[in-house]
């Protein structure tokens, strides 16, 4: 799967309160959450972006609360994937579980500037910066996590495993 889009850059330690403030946690609808994505740091974010755009974060992206509403909001507003220097662990698990592609790549997180056009090969983790004509390689996902993604997310994997 190839993901391609314009990038939006965020700094270090972007927390889940910034991604989706608690006042929106009265909904579990990805569309509603998506409309308010990044409201705690960039109000109006969902109106600025186009479908397929990519978020680029710094270190510890998605830290804080365990709210799965955070990756759901990112996916729900049409972002195709997140590239970051590193991810907070609950956000990492949640993203894989709900099928939001994420790529850990310090080099890309540093080099990509807001607005750059980026293309990601989700199966290999190869990231191409079309604006800067550069390539970066994301850390490969462990085989087990690839199995989860291949099955279509954690719940599909569970259903398959339990027969």
């Amino acid at each position: 799967m190839i993901l391609k889009g314009k990038t939006w850059k965020f700094g270090n330690d972007i927390n889940t309160d910034e991604i989706i403030p608690a006042k929106y946690l009265v909904s579990v609808d990805p569309k509603v959450l998506g409309e308010n994505c990044m409201d705690g740091i960039t109000p109006g974010f969902s109106k600025k972006i186009a479908f397929g755009n990519i978020i680029v974060g710094g270190k510890n992206f998605g830290c804080g609360s365990s709210r799965e509403h955070a990756p759901l909001a990112i996916k729900g507003c049409g972002i195709s994937c997140v590239i970051a220097d590193s991810f907070a662990r609950i956000f990492y698990r949640n993203s894989i579980n709900i099928g939001l592609p994420i790529f850990e790549c310090p080099e890309a997180a540093k080099s990509i500037e807001e607005g750059d056009e980026v293309e990601v090969d989700a199966s290999t983790g190869l990231i191409r910066n079309l604006t800067k004509n550069k390539k970066y390689q994301a850390k490969p996902m462990p085989a087990f996590m690839q199995e989860l993604i291949g099955a279509g997310g954690l719940m599909k994997w569970v259903v398959k495993k339990n027969g």
């Binding site: 927390n15 608690a22 705690g40 365990s66 590193s86 907070a88 662990r89 579980n97």
Partner: protein
């Protein structure tokens, strides 16, 4: 090669004979937890998967504590989802308002978290239960849904960081100050994906409530879990709390030759009460260095500091004094049992007479849910665990984190203050 306590507990919940950091392991779960924000998604995923019944209705706890008592119609609907699921599946540990408390104070008090257990919860502060010597960590809703079905969960075995605290703590300094100081030292991602093992003579002398406050905030350093090996203090606590639950426990200790990726040693004998400035828990400073910071609100409570010793500490400062005329001081006993005990000890009267509002247990203000939301330009000191931008309300509001004595002293002075300034 020896094992750390975290590795031992994880291994004991698999069929494996050996384990190493980095291994992916599928573990049996002793207890799983969801609340009114995270469980509705888990319930919906559980139902979408076509699962007929839960793996074990005596190993699931559902605590409606975040937007409860319902703050609006939408949150009432979410609470209803939880209630109906609990009824349908005869979930043993569902707590309705009146019995409900803040989850991470309530479950240990009910004797449901014991040494050696493996506990997961769809709430990031699930790491709190490491204080009793359990492996305990936060996950998301879909992970919880999978545990509802399988009773198992996959983990990457974490590397461990050993923290050694030595020295006698000063008056007004406790677990909250130790953890704020630690996060200040290593940063909000200083323990990313890692186990934080708290040891040393200062920890050995630390009462349970302070240990809970420390392990509670392991997540604020990115930690997978915080853990303190069970000792006499722990055993005294669990012997009492498990009288009702009848839960059995098993004690694990780190081997002398266990491997740590890092060892941090702190002499804490000169530590002052700490305050974390916005917008990150890692912006920790001794209270004496935080000068002329006026506050509009003081929040005392939460899963970090809403236990009885926290309230005693606040009451000691507030007794016979008045909250500053420009400050709203709101006190949240974490559970009904804490509330009752505070009433028996006369603490509630001290609070009310000094001009504080006392609330029923809820997570409300900590996450900017309800019961104490800040307007633009307002500032709160809080004994909670996060001071992210907009955490307690408007994006232009601020939260400073501290222990209960500092929050109480600040409520009296109208600005951030050391307890000695008002005593």
């Amino acid at each position: 090669m020896g094992y750390t306590i975290t590795e031992k507990i994880l291994m004991a919940h698999t069929d494996r004979k050996s384990i190493s950091p980095g291994d992916l392991v599928d573990c049996k779960v002793d207890l799983c937890l969801g609340n009114d924000i995270t469980a509705p998604i888990a319930i919906s995923e559980f139902e979408k998967a076509g699962a007929g019944k839960v793996f074990d209705n005596k190993k699931i706890a559902l605590v409606p504590d975040h937007f409860s008592p319902a703050k609006d119609i939408k949150s009432a609907e979410q609470l209803k989802v939880l209630r109906e699921f609990a009824k349908k599946h005869s979930i043993k540990y569902y707590y309705e308002i009146g019995c409900m408390g803040i989850e991470h104070a309530l479950l240990p008090e009910e004797g449901l978290t014991v040494p050696g257990d493996l506990i997961i919860g769809a709430d990031s502060h699930t790491c709190t239960y490491g204080a009793v010597g359990a492996f305990s960590t936060g996950v998301g809703s879909t992970d919880l849904a999978a545990v509802f079905i399988r009773g198992r969960i996959w983990f990457k075995v974490p590397e461990s960081i050993k923290f050694i605290y030595t020295g006698k703590l000063n008056k007004w300094v406790g677990g909250k100050d130790l953890i704020l100081y630690t996060i200040g030292d290593i940063g909000v991602d200083g323990a990313l994906y890692k186990a934080m093992e708290f040891t040393g003579d200062a920890i050995e002398r630390l009462p349970m409530d302070d240990r809970f406050a420390m392990c509670n905030m392991a997540i604020e350093a990115g930690g997978k879990n915080g853990i303190i090996g069970a000792d006499d203090t722990t055993l005294k606590y669990v012997k009492e709390t498990t009288k009702k639950s009848k839960k059995k426990w098993k004690i694990y200790k780190s081997d002398k030759d266990a491997q740590y990726c890092e060892v941090k040693e702190y002499d804490v004998s000169k530590l002052e009460p700490m305050v974390s400035l916005p917008p990150l828990p890692s912006n920790a400073k001794p209270v004496s260095q935080v000068k002329n910071v006026k506050i509009d609100q003081s929040v005392i409570g939460s899963c970090t500091n809403g236990r009885i010793s926290d309230l005693r500490m606040a009451a000691k400062v507030l007794k016979g004094k008045k909250v500053h005329k420009d400050v709203r001081c709101i006190i949240f006993p974490a559970t009904q049992a804490v509330y009752l005990q505070a009433m028996d000890e006369g603490l509630l009267e001290i609070f009310v007479r000094s001009g504080c509002a006392v609330s029923t247990p809820t997570c409300g203000p900590c996450l900017g849910g309800h019961m104490g939301i800040l307007a633009a330009g307002e500032r709160s000191i809080a004994t909670t665990n996060r001071n992210f931008t907009g955490r307690m309300g408007h994006l232009k509001s601020e939260v400073y984190l501290s222990n209960p004595a500092v929050a109480a002293a600040s409520a009296i002075k109208g600005k951030i203050a050391h307890p000695e300034e008002v005593i």
